[in-house]
């Protein structure tokens, strides 16, 4: 049971408060970007390349301009006149807005058609005739580094190959020596496939440039509105759009998952066109465009190795990665680390040595490297360590649960410094795994499995005990284009004791309107229902870096608590004045100050707020407002213990997830109902890449599953009934002891599922299968082992 310090009426932390934002969503009154309709608005559609790599010989717009309603067709040559045909990526690489000469991936934007209606824009798009001269693309990242491969980024002066960067961490010499001498060494080659966040709302915007006032309002699907405003000012300042003339509004967002962090060419083209014609321009991409051209996630080829003793002690790990970034490095890893947080790959285990290295390459695929609901490459890291840990357990003949218990970092050893330098704040890994094992009677399942194996049936049990690293981040390591990754909260309490609070983050379904109100209610005793929460408008909200990487609670949540504490301090001063006692004689309970030993002498928070406007002590500033910008001293390290049970049909190779128990530890819990909801959703986005999702390209660079017909987002039928629970190990450095939870399940679930499937197949000597693990992949693996 979670203990609450406040009454249900106040609704502070620990209460499963129903969500405040739901009223509009269940009645069709949400306000998403495609719902924005402005007078005189034009519609934009985009011509896209059918080729992965080709020279543009000619763009003929003659027929398109004859289509009734079409007002303009814009190409890269048109943008070039304003120096708007290129833009920077979040990783300080460069990306075409529209090409002038060459297309670099299939479905790349080639030209934009502007028209008075959506249908006219589409008709115009079909009438644009582009002549291409196709070239042989580089699709396989391993071949990308071949000396005979064409240099794709010939736009970069002096570039002689397709290598982007090399990154390394850990101690190479010590690790190499260990691997030469260790009794047991295991190794697997694994691909974490290219996938897509596929939020049900696609991306889009309405760019509204007002010529009279030289002012741009940008309604946009963005997880980071302030950062976008600054980027717009940096890119378009030279044409007069300086930062005070730009307002970014992120209205309700239909799911983000990292896919709404980057700046896509469509946004920039819409701004450029609105700027030129002085009318609002709406661009809403189709699902197919979204899957085929917007940022992908993952696509890491990892060689993972583990060294240890014969009795199961882990001694060291080694990881070698090849990262396929597509045509440009448009990753969202706003840190000093081009691999984001991959160096968390040492996992939840106590050992001293690791070495990891990554090379990134260009190919003729769409750019990206966003997170798909994960904190900058943590999913790749966790998959590698959790798979290779199981491989090691198999090699030394130990139960994977026992082996994990043997190697976990002990709770008394926190804070714990990892071999790559992270300071894990807190955790109790033994308690989490034990709770998960108890929840499904682990030992009984192993007995059942032994009986089934004797009969030739395929049953598997898979474990994943992961450590996440979230809440980016401390300003020494994290920034977006130089702007440090703090976040902010501003609280204004009105004379009648009701409040509005504004934040630099932006909910995409996480429930901020409820949970932020609960944090403030906890600190001030004002009922959460009386606290309005606002985000997403850069004209009103304090500057912040947005919502992704499970950072809202660790950063803006902390800012809310501290801003509220500033107000409580002010309330204490007013209470001392009104009650004619010293501040030290006052005691706080949620909602009021009272005199120690005389609880009948008290003032409620509402009375104190009213006094701040009507009867405040002389010399005190009137009003009741506070702002805080929070720069976290460390990241937070949520953890989890997940166990998955699968049954595989021996004839059809169909996989059935029989049970899945997820025990998460995200520190102190703000709203148990919302935390559970986040875990449910993340688990379904975990089973997705484990069993269904992958963006597949053929040798010519054609995407083979670029629509919802064949990119398999799990339905309610594929998604099992999730069983969830928690342990609570507060973060010692966070003001409310919370850690963040949105991404833990996406990170932790895929290796639990993969480990369960491989466990089921282990009697045949199968030690690894790449995700997504499909019935056909199992059939092929079993056939190789002579089963069929």
């Amino acid at each position: 049971m979670i203990q609450c310090k406040t009454s249900k009426a106040i609704g502070g932390m620990g209460h499963s408060l129903k969500r405040k934002e739901d009223a509009r969503f269940i009645q069709g009154k949400g306000n998403y970007v495609d719902d924005v309709k402005l007078p005189g608005m034009l519609y934009m559609d985009i011509v896209r390349s059918p080729y992965a790599y080709a020279k543009i010989k000619n763009i003929n717009i003659e027929e398109a301009m004859k289509v009734p309603g079409v007002v303009a067709v814009v190409s890269g040559r048109d943008l070039e006149k304003y120096n708007l045909h290129w833009m920077p990526t979040l990783m300080s690489d460069t990306q075409m807005v529209l090409p002038t000469d060459t297309v670099m991936y299939q479905s790349q934007e080639v030209a934009a058609v502007i028209a008075t209606t959506k249908y006219a824009a589409r008709d115009g798009r079909e009438a644009v005739i582009v002549e291409y001269e196709p070239m042989k693309p580089v699709i396989d990242p391993f071949k990308s580094l071949d000396p005979s491969a064409p240099v794709l980024r010939s736009d970069k002066e002096g570039k002689t190959d397709n290598h982007i960067w090399n990154w390394k961490a850990g101690d190479k010499e010590k690790t190499d020596t260990l691997f030469e001498t260790a009794d047991v060494v295991v190794k697997e080659q694994m691909h974490i496939p290219r996938i897509h966040v596929a939020s049900i709302e696609t991306c889009g915007c309405v760019a509204d440039y007002d010529k009279v006032n030289n002012h741009l309002t940008m309604y946009m699907t963005t997880q980071a509105p302030h950062a976008i405003r600054t980027v717009i000012a940096l890119v378009a300042g030279h044409v007069g759009l300086t930062e005070e003339k730009v307002r970014v509004i992120a209205p309700d967002i239909g799911g983000g998952f990292g896919g709404k962090v980057p700046v896509y060419p469509g946004y920039v083209i819409a701004i450029a066109v609105s700027f030129l014609v002085g009318k609002p321009v709406k661009w809403i991409e189709d699902r197919s465009e979204n899957l085929q051209a917007d940022s992908f996630a993952r696509d890491y080829h990892i060689t993972a190795e583990m060294a240890g003793t014969k009795d199961g002690k882990i001694l060291g790990t080694r990881f070698k990665i090849l990262a396929d970034h597509g045509y440009t490095d448009a990753s969202a890893n706003p840190s000093k680390f081009p691999t984001g947080m991959f160096s968390i790959a040492t996992g939840s285990y106590d050992y001293g040595t690791t070495y990891m290295e990554c090379d990134a390459v260009y190919t003729n695929k769409p750019p990206g490297g966003v997170a798909y609901r994960c904190s900058f490459r943590v999913t790749e890291a966790v998959h590698a360590i959790e798979r290779i840990t199981d491989r090691f357990a198999f090699e030394v003949g130990k139960d994977p649960a026992d082996l994990r218990m043997q190697n976990f970092i002990k709770k008394e050893d926190f804070p714990w410094k990892s071999p790559t330098g992270w300071i894990y704040d807190s955790g109790d890994y033994h308690a989490g795994l034990q709770k998960a094992m108890d929840a499904l009677n682990y030992n009984d399942l192993r007995r059942e499995q032994a009986e089934k194996r004797a009969k030739g049936e395929l049953m598997g049990i898979g474990i994943s005990t992961f450590t996440e690293i979230v809440g980016a981040g401390p300003s020494k390591d994290f920034d977006i284009l130089g702007i440090k990754m703090f976040d902010s909260a501003e609280i204004r309490v009105h004379p009648t004791g009701k409040a509005i609070a504004r934040f630099g983050t932006k909910s995409q379904g996480q429930g901020h309107e409820t949970t932020y109100a609960q944090i403030i209610a906890e600190e001030l005793g004002i009922p959460a229902e009386n606290i309005a929460i606002e985000e997403g408008d850069t004209d009103t909200a304090p500057y912040g870096l947005g919502t992704y990487a499970s950072r809202s609670t660790p950063t803006a949540g902390a800012a809310a608590a501290i801003a509220a504490r500033k107000l409580r301090d002010k309330a204490r001063k007013i209470a001392a004045y009104l009650l004619e006692v010293s501040e030290d004689d006052l005691e706080w309970e949620p909602g009021k100050f009272f005199v120690k030993g005389a609880p009948e002498k008290s003032k409620t928070i509402q009375e104190l707020v009213f006094a701040a406007y009507t009867n405040h002590p002389q010399g005190m500033e009137a009003g009741f407002e506070a702002t805080h910008y929070y720069d976290p001293p460390n990241l937070t390290f949520p953890s989890g213990a997940y166990i998955c049970v699968v049954d595989i049909d021996r004839e059809t190779c169909e996989i059935k997830v029989r049970r899945f128990v997820a025990i998460d530890d995200c520190g102190n819990i703000i709203n148990p109902m919302i935390v559970q909801g986040q875990v449910h959703g993340g688990l379904t986005q975990g089973i997705a890449p484990a069993m269904y999702e992958e963006l597949i390209y053929d040798e010519a660079g054609n995407i083979l599953n670029g629509t919802f017909m064949d990119y398999l987002v799990p339905t309610a039928v594929e998604s099992p009934n999730w069983e969830t629970g928690h342990t609570v190990t507060p973060s010692p450095h966070h003001p409310i002891g919370a850690k963040g939870v949105g991404e833990s399940p996406t990170v932790g679930a895929p290796p639990a599922i993969a480990n369960a499937i491989v466990d089921a197949l282990s009697p045949f000597g199968i030690t690894h299968l790449d995700i997504p693990i499909t019935p056909f992949k199992i059939f092929k693996a079993l056939k190789e082992k002579g089963v069929f």
């Binding site: 495609d34 049900i200 919802f708 998604s719």
Partner: protein, 168 residues
């Protein structure tokens, strides 16, 4: 070339001149300016645009506006009287945390209206298959199942199950 059609939407008759190729979902959103019905794909896969056409749940991106001529439509906006009591499904989704971002929610609820009309006491499996034409990327479906069961109980006049989250 346009065609004049009359469609009754949430009880009100609307007459409009439309192109024969206009999708019903575009008529609802762009011509009638009712934006509660959403668009999440271009292949009739996601179900975000689900509405009731003569009482039957359909994906309005797969029907032409002219095919709805003379027919009656219910969208999420018409499910409960404005300011009046919510439909049990709307209440069930809110009480059971059956939504996060809210984008799939209108389509999901409209699909479930028909589901419960056919069977007001569905099993978990019947609900999961019943909503398998509607994608949700946020919730993992657990609480949507719970919301539909809760609404079913309410529609049957029975005591509704607890909405507190259950943990192992």
């Amino acid at each position: 070339m346009t065609k004049t059609i009359t469609v009754t939407v949430n009880g009100t008759a609307h007459t409009a001149e439309v192109e024969p190729r206009l999708l019903l979902v575009h008529m609802i959103r762009e011509v009638l300016n009712m934006t509660g019905t959403h668009i999440g794909c271009d292949t009739s896969s996601c179900g975000a645009c689900t509405i009731l056409l003569d009482g039957k749940s359909i994906k309005s991106c797969t029907v032409l506006a002219v095919q709805a001529n003379g027919k009656s439509i219910t969208t999420i906006e018409g499910l409960a009287p404005e300011g009046g009591p919510l439909h049990p499904l709307q209440e069930g989704f809110k009480e059971n945390h059956g939504l996060h971002c809210g984008f799939c929610t209108p389509g999901m609820i409209m699909r479930c209206v028909e589901l419960l009309e056919h069977n007001n006491n569905p099993t978990e499996e019947e609900i999961r298959w019943g909503i398998s034409g509607n994608l949700c990327r946020c919730t993992g479906y657990n609480n949507i199942v719970k919301a539909v069961q809760w609404a079913g109980a309410k529609m049957r006049g029975e005591e509704t199950p607890s909405t507190e989250p259950e943990f192992v």
